[in-house]
Amino acid sequence: MELDPVLLSRLQFAFVIAFHILLPAFTVGLASYIVVLEGMYFWRGDATYLRLSLFWTKMFAVSFGMGVVSGIVMPFQLGTNWSGLSDTAGNVLAPLLTYEGLIAFFLEAGFLGILLFGRKLVPPWVHLFAAVMVGSGTLFSSFWILSANSWMHTPAGYEIVDGRYFVRSWVDVIFNPSFPYRIAHTVTGFYITTAFVVIAVSAWHLRQRQHVPESRRAMSMGLGLLILLVPLQIVLGDAHGLNTLEHQPVKVAAMEGLWETQARAPAVVFALPDTTSESNRFEIAIPGLASFYLLHDMNGVVKGLKAFPPADRPPVGIVFWAFRIMVGVGVLMLAVVTWGVWLRLRGSLFDSPAFLFVCNFMAPAGFVAVIAGWTVTEVGRQPWVVYGLLRTRDAVSPSITGLDVLLSLLLYMTVYAVIFSAGLFYLFRIARAGPPTELEARDARLSERPARPLSAAEI
């Protein structure tokens, strides 16, 4: 069998980015949560916040370290495997990536040391400031990387000279048409992911009847955020979908599993899309509903996959099912949050074993939704790497062979298997131990300057 460097490079990129994105999906929200906890402790002086912050900072330290090392891999992928993209789109994309490094990564890294190890070395307000800087860094990073990514979906503000892209307007490049929707949807997804981990861990401690005051506080904070964000996310997701319909209609056709262009387009609930026969097998659909939610008009005409040449269609099955997984998880989240609100109103949020049990298992929910959503948008962009301009197969580095990429992919898989299993194991260990006891927390704040930077997991 001939080893295809294009397919293998795609698999490798999908693999390294999927594992990398799990970390920012958690740490972006967590950094903000730590800012809130530190801020509340700073102003209120309530040590419950401090103990929570010490606890979640340990979780943050481990995940952030993994995010850094798996993140360094990413820009180099654009060179090792996708030099065609760097050569043609370097003028446009690389300044955005460099700004991400300059503005976000340095900020995070510069203040991370103070946040993790400097509590006893600097005044409290400086420590809080460091937390704010790390939190801002994670958001600035999201801004730039999602701007670059969005440009690859909805390129704007450019001109083509000799097959390469040159910038005409930086404002149009940065704020390209899908960017506002993508950043809102993604960052909200990150916050939701973190909040579900927070309530899952808190629920576990409450079930064990340990760390009760801290876990109740964290549970309330997490649920309070989710009440706002989960419904908001559904609205944002809808808006992002409409934006995609405008700019990448074939992606929406694949998400919906629609082959024919039609008025009163059905919402396909279940189907096995079949590319060879260009139809769905075992389809269960609700007539007219897709037209309604896509065009807000039952009689609106939605373009089907057949309206596009087969060479321009994404892999339908993956996009179709990834979309259903994302939406399904979203519905589940909404159900859990609604249940939580109902219990809260009855005043029995912390006493319902069934609810705490369910919360426990919601820990991975956000991660699943993020990966599924990411799959929808990225696989849905295929066969293009820069939508409508540069095909993925034309972007791969010409010098690499299938065997090269097979070797590197196997190495990445082996290393990530070891590192991510170990990381998950240690995160579970920290989570199970829970917030420090009252005495330890006081010690962390009050003891003299010992100048002993350690692992953050030790503080």
Binding site: V73, D87, G101, A451, S455
Partner: protein, 334 residues
Amino acid sequence: MHIDLVPVWTVILGVGVFMYVLLDGFDLGVGILFPLAHDDASRTLMMNSVAPVWDGNETWLILGGTALMAAFPLAFAIVIPALYFPILLMLLGLIFRGVAFEFRLKAHSGRHWWDLSFFTGSVVATFFQGVVLGVYVQGFAVSGRHFAGGSFDWVKPFPLATGAGLLFGYGLLGATWLVMKTEGDLQKKSRAQARTCLFGVLAFIAMVSLWTPYLHPKIMERWFTWPNMAFLAPVPIVTAGIAVALWRSLSRGGEFVPFIAAMGLFAMCYLGLGVSVFPYVVPWTITLWDAASSPGSQAFLLVGTLVILPIVFMYTGWSYYVFRGKVRAELGHH
């Protein structure tokens, strides 16, 4: 746009890559020396001395990569695929050592595995950075806008030699850093290691200096024609002077000077490298000007860089200041 920004970007990129080499150089060096420590307490101290700063140090690598792509995209598109495996292995090495900082102290019985991970990762990352350097000086086979060679072209004596040489180089930075940050037995030990590394570094500098002119006639011409020889003569002379100062300071109990002098040695080697390859960014076919991105892209990024980079220097410096002084052995594990 009438101003030629290529020289400006050459300097910024040059400084960025050099910052990476110096900063990650010393924390990778600490990793290289890690197994030579005689007990667990010393290893913990060694790691603590770099734990608050390693992440910031590695950020310069990301800056180097992305700024190369932004300012000289054609060079990025040729050089990086040509270095497919050295870069892959460097990245995997960085992963193993990076996670070890946190994992090591969360592990109970498995700590020695993360010690090994920290050491091996540091050695592998350093060695392959040295290989990258060697391949770079040797030059790349280019056809049109692509790398035209094979993915294993790097397996040659010169890159493997520079890989080995860099182990001593980063080892020297790491050892002199530890001389500055520690005291007592560990400091004494680091002092001895710094001496050993200095010998290794000087041997490799001599070897590489004699070897490179034969790699390409352009290097020979640059260094050994008149009047270049006269202008460039200070480079080896100053290098020798720094080496002597470093040796004497190590013998006389200097704490800061060895580290500064080690950085000085790196600066001179880096300068020598720059002299050898200029004006090529893909030796020996593509110049900085050939590979430059559009003036608009260079200008857009320059505006922000000139504002942000000084701020980065300020808060990074402040962070080093906060963690100044000796790392202590007070290790109360909660």
